[in-house]
Symmetry: C2
Subunit: 277 residues, 2 copies
């Protein structure tokens, strides 16, 4: 129940109609007696900069979840940006530092990484291919680098996107081997679809699944259905895999830590959430 | 349950800890399937002007409840101010007009008036004394004028406060008989304590209760206890009366109408609210 002492977590984006975070966090907060609430705030791109600073001067603001179209714009508006967000070139969470400063991080990729680790895979020293270097692909690449992969191959249909991401990775992870330009999955331990391919019927697969090693672990960002055509093909090949919504639920414990709230597991959050897939 | 479609009613004030509106409105919204939520936002005086405009550019903002210390400052920040708010010199509710304009009104006094009317008293043509010409006294005087009292006597320990209110009343209600300077309740049909007297033990009574006609109706704004010393004395004299929280609950149906939500009675709101007095 919202009261005068309740801490606010603004959920900033536009449009808001499809927001799911309130139905995940708020039941969790309620169940655990955490006096906080996630509140959707439909902020348009042109109004964002003027809104963010006064919003964070509220006495009961605790943080913000940031979604489209503000993830990239947020970077320039903060006082401190964590490396993962810098590499991703985007920020999806803001918290207020003790001195009133705004601190930003990016957890889209962290959710992916936590899911892979929890499924028993090792990322330290692994070779990973990320197909798609847009927002979510960049975030996954940034988190894979942070998690200690040895090699990261990047591909995007628009090559400069992948090149830009590659350069940011090289700056912050000089010992990481980064390559750009091929979506051939042969020889990789981790193969990730971070493109929208699979959203529409008849989409081609993002990589040639026949060239994925059956021992590889395959990840997917498309959430339209649990088993996308890409995952179905990878599963048929014998690969272990992670579905799109795993990334969503696995990242929430990371947000909770970031905001200083008691931690929960992804499974617990999935159980109390009031959304269905 | 808050979701992406939920309309926001910002509860603007500072500090927020004692806010009660969320625990009144939100259970009512929930029970009636109204997809709206009252969210406390602790905005300090110096940050208010910079926050209000961008707040009202959010796509899901519906309105605001305004409390201390912003009620007076709000007047100058709006596009349209209703007469009651102009006379009161303060505004405690804002809604978004269809053209994006900000429209303000003041309901503190409306709650008082509705309570009196619902207790079967007539205000049209009545003679009223309002003791205390601060925020709540001004609001009550403004609403009594709007309700059609014939005569309004104003008193404040600081006379210029009562004089300023008297002048605003004369401007907007030229046929109303306004007098300033005496707190003698003799001859009045309605006698209102709108001072803080009664908050502290040992406070003097706001008027000489022995001079109130037993047929008069007595109103109180102090909410510290149901029966304040002033009400106890008036009751002993045989006067009908209204307690402080009646004003609070009676004004909420007026807010709901202002915001375009389905109406409720004060009793219904009191029954579903999660606050206790």
């Amino acid at each position: 129940m919202i009261r005068g002492t309740t801490k606010l977590i603004a959920h900033l984006g536009y449009p808001t109609e499809s927001f799911k975070a309130p139905m995940i966090y708020n039941p969790y907060f309620e169940q655990h007696g955490i006096d906080a609430v996630v509140v959707p705030m439909g902020c348009k791109a042109q109004d964002y900069a003027a809104f963010l600073k006064p919003l964070f001067r509220l006495s009961n603001i605790h943080g913000a979840l940031v979604t489209m179209p503000h993830k990239v714009a947020t970077i320039a508006l903060l006082d401190e940006v964590m490396t993962t967000a810098k590499v991703a070139g985007a920020c999806n969470a803001i918290r207020l530092g003790p001195d009133g400063s705004l601190i930003g991080d990016m957890f889209d990729g962290e959710g992916f990484v936590r899911g892979v680790l929890r499924k028993g895979r090792t990322l330290l020293g692994a070779r990973a291919l990320v197909v798609g270097a847009g927002g979510v692909g960049s975030a996954i690449a940034a988190s894979l680098a942070r998690a200690g992969v040895a090699e990261l191959a990047l591909f995007d249909a628009y090559t400069p996107m992948a090149e830009g991401l590659g350069e940011r990775l090289r700056v912050h992870y000089p010992r990481l081997e980064v390559s750009v330009g091929s979506n051939d999955p042969a020889g990789y331990d981790i193969v990730v679809n971070a493109t929208p391919l699979g959203m529409k019927e008849g989409d081609p697969l993002p990589v040639d699944v026949e060239r994925i090693a059956p021992s590889a672990f395959v990840g997917e960002v498309v959430m339209k259905q649990e088993i996308t055509p890409f995952l179905a093909a990878a599963r048929a090949r014998g690969c272990a895999f992670q579905i799109g919504t795993d990334m969503l639920f696995e990242q929430i414990p990371a947000y909770l830590e970031f905001f200083g709230f008691p931690a929960a597991t992804a499974d617990e959050l999935r159980a109390v959430s009031r959304i269905a897939y």
